[in-house]
Each structure stands twice: as structure tokens, then as C-alpha cells.
């Protein structure tokens, strides 16, 4: 009988000691992590375009945190999906075509001669990147434009177009070398349509 009591006592003591250590460690070494929504929002491209079906990037980040799919962001493209998958420890999926296609970075451009100064685009712009006033010609601050497309639809005279951002001498860089005309690629699928 004594033995059983000793055993129980020893286990209790151990439990207390380890519990104390764990409790101490939990307080002492607490990692102040970003809440997951902030981390997801950090990864999203902040175009606020709404192509995901949510009214902005943060709502979508919240939705992802609550279990929505991570492949609804065309402006971010596959890179964003991969980063998200990495963060959330999920399998990266291809972009959901329902929400749009990944395309080159674009900025809005107002053909100023045609602009009638209706301010509709100014109201639509989520990042206040359009300058102008009623009955005055508007223009886009292209450095601030996220290329979200939201100003194109409201324009009554269709004078806004999305222009791809040109690569200049200063933004150009080498591309990764082509994987060798399929000669030393890893698997047959990296032949990319070529045959040897």
C-alpha cells in the first residue's frame, strides 16, 4: 500500500515540478507573434482590387484565416499563393481562374483629353491615387496606383485604360537561364513542349 502511495506522491511531485517549469517557460519565453491575419495581410499585394470577392485585402486575409481558399488573388499570382501556402503549411494550389488571370503589373492611365471630370474614378480608387476635382481633368499618380482596375468600370466615357508598367534600364534585370532546352531538366514535364 505504501508503495502505491509513494508512487502517486512521486508522480504528483513530478507533475507539479514539470508543470511549474512549463508554466514558467510559457511566460518567460513567450513569442510575441503577429496575429495570423496580419501575417496573411502582409503577404497579400494590397491592391485592394476585390477580385477575390472581398472588399479589400484585409477582409480576404481574415477570410483566409477563417479557412477560405488561398488561391483567389490574381494580382499576387502564384508567388503569393506559394508564400501563403508556406506560411499556413498548406499545399500550394494553382490560381483560381474564376477570380481572374495573373498578368503583368499594370497602372491606370487616364486619356486626359477625353476626361469629363466626373470624379467617379476618384471615388472608386481604393488608395486615393487619382487626382482631380469635379469638372476638372483627372490624372493618375502612377507611383501610387496598384493596378486594381476598379476605376475602369465607373468611367462614363471609357477614358481610363490599364497600361502595363514598362521595364526600364533601371528596373531591368537578367532572367533566370532557360533550363537548357530540356536536356538536363529534372523530369520530362520540364521539356515545355520541346523534344530532344
Amino acid at each position: 500500500m505504501d508503495i502505491v502511495l509513494y508512487a502517486i506522491g512521486a508522480l504528483l511531485a513530478l507533475a507539479l515540478i514539470f508543470g511549474a517549469i512549463l508554466g514558467f517557460a510559457a511566460i518567460r519565453f513567450k513569442v510575441e507573434g503577429n496575429p495570423i491575419v496580419d501575417q496573411i495581410n502582409e503577404i497579400l499585394p494590397q491592391t485592394q482590387c476585390g477580385q477575390c470577392g472581398y472588399p479589400g485585402c484585409r477582409p480576404y486575409a481574415e477570410a483566409i484565416a477563417n479557412g477560405d481558399a488561398i488561391n483567389k488573388c490574381p494580382p499576387g499570382g502564384q508567388a503569393t499563393i506559394n508564400t501563403l501556402a508556406d506560411l499556413l503549411d498548406m499545399e500550394p494550389e494553382p490560381l483560381d481562374a474564376e477570380h481572374g488571370q495573373e498578368s503583368v503589373t499594370k497602372v491606370a492611365f487616364i486619356r486626359e483629353a477625353e476626361c469629363i471630370g466626373c470624379t467617379k474614378c476618384i471615388q472608386a480608387c481604393p488608395v486615393d491615387a487619382i487626382l482631380g476635382a469635379a469638372k476638372q481633368m483627372h490624372t493618375v499618380i502612377s507611383d501610387e496606383c496598384t493596378g486594381c482596375d476598379l476605376c475602369v468600370e465607373p468611367c462614363p466615357v471609357d477614358c481610363i485604360e490599364m497600361r502595363p508598367v514598362d521595364i526600364t534600364v533601371r528596373t531591368w534585370s537578367w532572367a533566370l537561364p532557360q533550363p537548357n532546352h530540356g536536356k538536363a531538366g529534372l523530369i520530362a514535364t520540364d521539356l515545355r513542349g520541346q523534344t530532344v
Binding site: 501610387e144 537561364p177 532546352h181 538536363a184
Partner: protein, 698 residues
């Protein structure tokens, strides 16, 4: 680390070096980490002295010849400029001025191909030489010691000098580092194969180099001046030793190895110190300048001449007469190559810079700029196309050759996987892109390209991230602003309501009999106010249109014309959108073999075109009308603007309809035909209404 000091005596084994080199100073030198020994190929271009090619007819001067912001043009097309005149000024802190290399006329400022690895065009000033070679007023300094270092730095800045070794960093910035400088190092290493520009410069202008070194030393307040030269240039070493005799300048000779001429590598060889990652040599109290830069500084100070020419090596097996030339900045490669008797049929690759770090270009109408130290017109045998890359076997030869002690093989894997985190962990940005790893790679993998691409991708991503951060901030600011506006409106509305309630209460308290009238009162007042405002606005617009002197062609449009113009452009836009939808539908129909909706759209489009032409007609008529009357009658205006308003709404609705139509087409289901029909009906209605309205107007 590599603290094994070697005396120069043991190291110098160059057969041509001879005894004069061995009689060098006792200064210790340290070995370079890694490094390779590519075939030197320097003898081809050193057989004859530096010559001056004939003055070219046209000079092309890119505004961006240096690291940093492009220069800002000071001249206009058609201006006459004198030799040495500043034609573009530095546009910021990190920027350099540009001077006319000869006298002549500015014929254009336009995009031209520039010497850049991208093969892109950039803004250039085009100067047609007049052959007079007429100098502008120069301001030489007889005794530079009379001037303060800061004044001299200003002179260097005005002379537009940027590093002549390759990177092209504006020299003035390096000469005012803000930290105490102990050591000035002049880089006469020229470790890249083929290039002999600095070698010839030191042979022929040793005195100028030394004088430049002294000026730089004075400007920086450096106690020590070292000139590092590889032992494969015995003539240059001898000339420099003669010129430096009795001066406080140390000529340090060390064995040739690539890439000893890199700034960081040279510092390591001469002082055993390493420039901390992400810092500058100035943080170690050192400044490194190319010997060519020293000569440019001497010419800028002592002769007052800006940087308008440089020594460029013309070499390669496709040239009959490889040599060094003193080329004006802006001379086109084709002119220089012609001068060196190019065998055009044998030319396979034209390289700007050396074979290890230079870039190939695909055309010859590219100018020589301040950093162009070499042009290699190579034959196919000389620079054969790299064989197909094989798999990396991680042999580690690249790591042996890397002067930065990186692990190129690991970087390669991570670059292929686009794993930016690991790349940063393996210090990708400490890679100096010297090409030693690619040079030794047994599998012929273009390693440097992987690193360049990865660096570019990481930079782009960082820029994107910074932008998205800013966008987020702006978005949040906007939301805050909207919320605030809403709150303010709400508050105002509340206040108004309260005031009205109070007023009402007061009035009901005052006279209970006439409450009906009291209730009407504010509305009446509002109407009256609106009327007054309208009248005022009309008066204002009238006065402005009256105030402007109307010319025959450029008359301000009347309000009516304006409205019509807006309608017209809206209708045009609508038509355009439908056209686009039609095109899209046709494309999709091509795939599906269904042409039903196309017909719908076509009729839609026809309708819209009709509408446009009607509006155009109305607009033209109105224009004629106003041309004859000059001043439209005022009473006709008010009802018309109402009409116009209505029309505007109509067209907006039509617009919306077309938009919907477009969306329908985009999704392009066959069962959408009903919707399309409906849309058509609506569009027809709209068109009819518009017609009516127009008839009413005209």
C-alpha cells in the same frame, strides 16, 4: 582566414617582370581568397601607343553614364555648344554632369541604344560635331593647395567625373566621405583579360597619374597612398616607379590573379582587411579610385578640363589593328571599330568591358561612355557559345574560385528553386558577379546569370513589398478619411435636425395658428438658395466665356456644345465597348462555332454607330449654329440643360446596359442569348429615346 603573408619576392614569377619588379618595396601583400587565371590576351592591344581616332560626325551622349540618377539636360535641340561646355547637370546627390566632347550642334535629345546589358534604349543627347573643336572657357587651377578640399570636390563634381573602372560611381561623392581617410588606394590592377586601357595610361601618363594621386591625397587628407598594379604590366610598373620616385606614394606590385582588381579584393590584397558586408571602404578609412579617375581629376583641377574622353581598348580577333585609343565620350562603337580595321565578317560577339564581367551587345551604333574601358570584337573561335549546361555535380570548384568565399553551388540550387530566403542566408548579395565560378564550372552552368536574376527578383520583390506596404497605408488612410467624412456628415445632419426641431418647437410655441406655413418655410428657402446659386453660376460661366477672346478656330464651347460633346464621347465610348465585346465574342464564337450572339452584337453596334453619328450631327449643327450666332441665346439654355441632363442619364443607363452585355459576352454561355436579346431591346429603346431627345434639341 588568409593571414599568410607573402613577400612580393616569392610571388613575382612573371617571366617578363624582370629584375626591376623584384626591386620593389618591402611592403607586405596578402593573398586573394579564391580567384582564377584566365588567359590574359593583353599583348594584342599593347603593341602601339594610344592613338586618337578622327573626330566622329555624330556623338551620342547617354544621360545616364554613371551609377545613380540620370543627368538633367541644360540645352535644347538646335543649340550650339562648345567643347567642354556642360550640357547636362547632375540631377541629385548621386549623379554626374555631362559635357560636350566637341563643339557642334545639338540635333536631338531622344532614345537611343545605350551600352547596357539589357539592350534597351535610353535618353541621349545627340551632338553633331562642327569640326572646329572650339573650347569653352576653362578655369585651370595653378596651385590646387590654395583651394580647400571642399572646393576641389566641387570642381570634380562639375567636371562630371565618375569612376572609370567600370561601376561608374560619381567620384565627387567618394571624395567627400564624411569619415577620416587614412589610405588612398589607386587601382591599376586591371585584372580582366584583354583590357589594357589602364596599362597604357600608366605607361604614357604616369606623371599625370601621380599628380592626380597627390591631388586626391590632398583632397582626402590621406597619409598613405598605395597604387596596386598586377605584375603582368612591367612597363607600366617601371614608368610609375619613375614618376613616383621621391614621393609619398607606394607602388605595390602583386601577382596577377582574377579578380584582384575588385575594390574589396584589392583592399584585401594590400591591407589584409575586409570591407564589412554592406559597408564602404570609407568605413575602414580607405578610398579606392581607378588610375584613370586620378588622371581625370588631375585634368579637371590642373587643366580645368571636364571629363570628355577616355582611353578605351579596342581588341579582339575580329580587329586587324587592335590598340588603345583616346576616344571622345559618345563615339559610336562602329566608328572606333572601323578605325581599328574591323573584319566585319568575322565578328561574332561584341563585348563592352572585359570577357569576365562585360556584357555583349547586339548592335554597333552604341556609344562609348565614361565607364567603357574596352570593346572586344570577338570571333566565334574566341568566345564560342557556351556548351549546354549539364547537371551540377556540386564538385565545389566554384567555391574554390569564389573570391567572396561564397558557396556558388548552393546559391545555384537555391536560385533555381527561387528560394529567396536561403539565398539571403547564403549571402547572395555579397556576390560581386566576377564570373570566376562560371569560368571554372565543369558543367558550363551560367552561374552568374542565376545570381543576377535572383538578385533582380529579390530587389523587385522588395520593391513590390514596399509598395504594397504603402498601398496598405493609403488604403487605411482612405478608409479613415471616409469614416471621418461620414461621421462629420452624420454630425451635421444631426445638428441640422436638432436645430430644425428646436426652431419648429419655438415656432409652434410662438404661433400655433400658422404652422403649415412655418413647415414650408425652410424648403422654400432652400429652393430659393439653389436658384440663387444657379443664377450665380450661369452668370459666372457667361462672364468667363465672354472674358475670353474667342478666336475663330479655338472658341470656347458653349454649355450646350459641351453637353453635346460629353454625350458624343459617351456614345462613342459605348460604341467602342460594344466593338470590343463584338471582337471578343467573335473570338469565342470562332472556338464554339456559335454566331448567334454575334449578330445581336453587330446590330447593337450598328445602332450605336447610328446614335454616334446622330450626336455628331447634332454637335456639328450646334457648332455651326454658335459659329453664326457667336453667342447662344440665354433663355434657350435653361430648358436645354435639363434636356441634356436627362440625356446624360439615358446614356449612362445605356452604358450600364452595354457593360452588362460585355460581361455576358465574357462569360459567353450559349444560354445567355435571351439576356442579350433583352439587352438589345433596351439599347434600342435608349437609341430611340436619344433620337427623340436629339430631335427635340435640334
Amino acid at each position: 582566414m588568409n593571414a599568410i603573408a607573402k613577400s612580393p619576392h616569392q610571388d613575382i614569377q612573371s617571366p617578363v617582370a624582370g629584375s626591376q619588379v623584384i626591386a620593389s618595396s618591402e611592403r607586405k601583400i596578402w593573398p586573394l581568397t579564391g580567384g582564377v587565371h584566365p588567359e590574359e590576351n593583353k599583348h594584342q592591344s599593347t603593341s602601339c601607343p594610344v592613338s586618337v581616332p578622327p573626330l566622329p560626325e555624330t556623338l551620342v551622349l547617354p544621360l545616364s553614364q554613371h551609377a545613380g540618377l540620370p543627368a538633367d539636360p541644360l540645352i535644347r535641340v538646335g543649340d550650339k555648344v562648345l567643347k567642354g561646355q556642360m550640357i547636362a547637370k547632375a540631377s541629385g546627390f548621386v549623379s554626374a554632369a555631362l559635357h560636350a566632347p566637341t563643339s557642334g550642334t545639338i540635333t536631338a535629345i531622344e532614345n537611343r541604344p545605350i551600352p547596357h546589358a539589357s539592350g534597351f534604349y535610353d535618353l541621349c543627347i545627340i551632338l553633331a560635331a562642327d569640326g572646329q573643336e572650339q573650347w569653352c572657357q576653362l578655369a585651370p587651377v595653378t596651385d590646387y593647395r590654395q583651394l580647400s578640399p571642399a572646393e576641389l570636390v566641387e570642381k570634380v563634381r562639375d567636371a562630371g567625373i565618375s569612376g572609370m573602372g567600370g561601376a561608374g560611381f560619381p567620384t565627387a561623392i567618394k571624395l567627400a566621405p564624411g569619415t577620416a581617410i587614412n589610405t588612398l588606394i589607386l587601382n591599376g590592377t586591371e585584372c580582366e583579360p584583354y583590357i589594357t586601357a589602364d596599362d597604357m595610361l600608366m605607361r604614357e601618363k604616369a606623371d599625370a597619374v601621380i599628380e592626380g594621386a597627390e591631388i586626391l591625397q590632398y583632397m582626402l587628407g590621406a597619409q598613405e597612398c598605395l597604387i596596386g598594379i598586377e605584375d603582368n604590366k612591367p612597363e607600366a610598373i617601371a614608368a610609375m616607379r619613375r614618376a613616383a620616385a621621391g614621393k609619398n606614394i607606394d607602388i605595390v606590385v602583386f601577382p596577377a590573379i582574377y579578380p584582384s582588381g575588385g575594390e574589396k579584393q584589392l583592399i584585401q590584397i594590400l591591407t589584409a582587411q575586409e570591407v564589412p558586408s554592406g559597408k564602404l571602404p570609407a568605413d575602414l578609412g580607405m578610398v579606392v579610385q581607378n588610375v584613370g579617375t586620378a588622371v581625370a581629376v588631375k585634368e579637371a583641377i590642373v587643366d580645368g578640363k571636364p571629363l570628355i574622353s577616355r582611353i578605351t581598348t579596342l581588341t579582339g580577333d575580329a580587329l586587324t589593328a587592335p590598340q588603345n585609343v583616346e576616344a571622345l565620350i559618345g563615339t559610336l562603337a562602329q566608328d572606333l571599330l572601323q578605325y581599328a580595321a574591323l573584319k566585319a565578317s568575322e565578328l561574332s560577339t561584341l563585348v563592352f568591358g572585359g570577357p569576365m564581367m562585360g556584357f555583349s551587345v547586339d548592335r554597333m551604333d552604341i556609344p562609348v561612355i565614361k565607364t567603357s574601358n574596352c570593346l572586344i570584337a570577338a570571333t566565334e573561335d574566341e568566345f564560342p557559345a557556351a556548351p549546354d549546361a549539364q547537371a551540377c555535380i556540386r564538385c565545389g570548384h566554384c567555391a574554390e574560385a569564389c573570391p567572396s568565399s561564397l558557396l556558388p553551388q548552393q546559391l545555384y540550387w537555391h536560385a533555381r528553386a527561387e528560394n529567396h530566403e536561403q539565398l539571403m542566408h547564403h549571402n547572395l548579395f555579397d556576390c560581386i558577379e566576377c564570373g570566376a565560378c562560371s569560368f571554372v564550372c565543369p558543367s558550363s552552368i551560367p552561374l552568374v546569370q542565376y545570381y543576377r536574376a535572383s538578385k533582380g527578383a529579390i530587389r523587385t520583390q522588395e520593391a513590390k513589398h514596399a509598395k504594397s506596404e504603402r498601398s496598405k497605408q493609403r488604403y487605411e488612410d482612405r478608409l479613415a478619411r471616409l469614416a471621418q467624412e461620414k461621421a462629420e456628415k452624420e454630425a451635421k445632419r444631426k445638428a441640422n435636425a436638432e436645430r430644425a426641431a428646436k426652431l419648429k418647437a419655438a415656432k409652434t410655441a410662438e404661433k400655433t395658428g400658422s404652422d403649415a406655413k412655418a413647415e414650408e418655410d425652410p424648403i422654400q428657402a432652400a429652393i430659393a438658395r439653389a436658384k440663387a446659386r444657379k443664377a450665380a453660376a450661369a452668370g459666372a460661366s457667361e462672364s468667363t466665356s465672354a472674358g475670353q477672346a474667342p478666336s475663330a478656330s479655338d472658341r470656347p464651347l458653349s454649355a450646350k456644345q459641351k453637353e453635346l460633346k460629353v454625350q458624343l464621347s459617351m456614345a462613342k465610348a459605348q460604341a467602342k465597348k460594344t466593338e470590343r465585346a463584338l471582337a471578343a465574342a467573335e473570338a469565342s464564337a470562332e472556338l464554339k462555332g456559335d454566331r448567334g450572339d454575334i449578330e445581336q452584337l453587330k446590330s447593337n453596334l450598328a445602332m450605336l454607330h447610328e446614335q454616334v453619328s446622330k450626336l455628331q450631327q447634332a454637335f456639328d449643327e450646334k457648332a455651326q449654329d454658335s459659329a453664326s450666332k457667336n453667342n447662344p441665346e440665354k433663355p434657350a439654355k435653361a430648358p436645354l440643360s435639363d434636356e441634356a441632363k436627362k440625356l446624360k442619364i439615358e446614356s449612362a443607363m445605356a452604358n450600364a446596359a452595354v457593360k452588362k452585355l460585355q460581361r455576358a459576352i465574357a462569360s459567353a454561355g450559349e444560354d445567355e442569348l435571351d439576356t442579350l436579346k433583352q439587352q438589345l431591346v433596351t439599347a434600342e429603346q435608349k437609341a430611340a429615346e436619344m433620337k427623340q431627345a436629339l430631335e427635340g434639341l435640334s
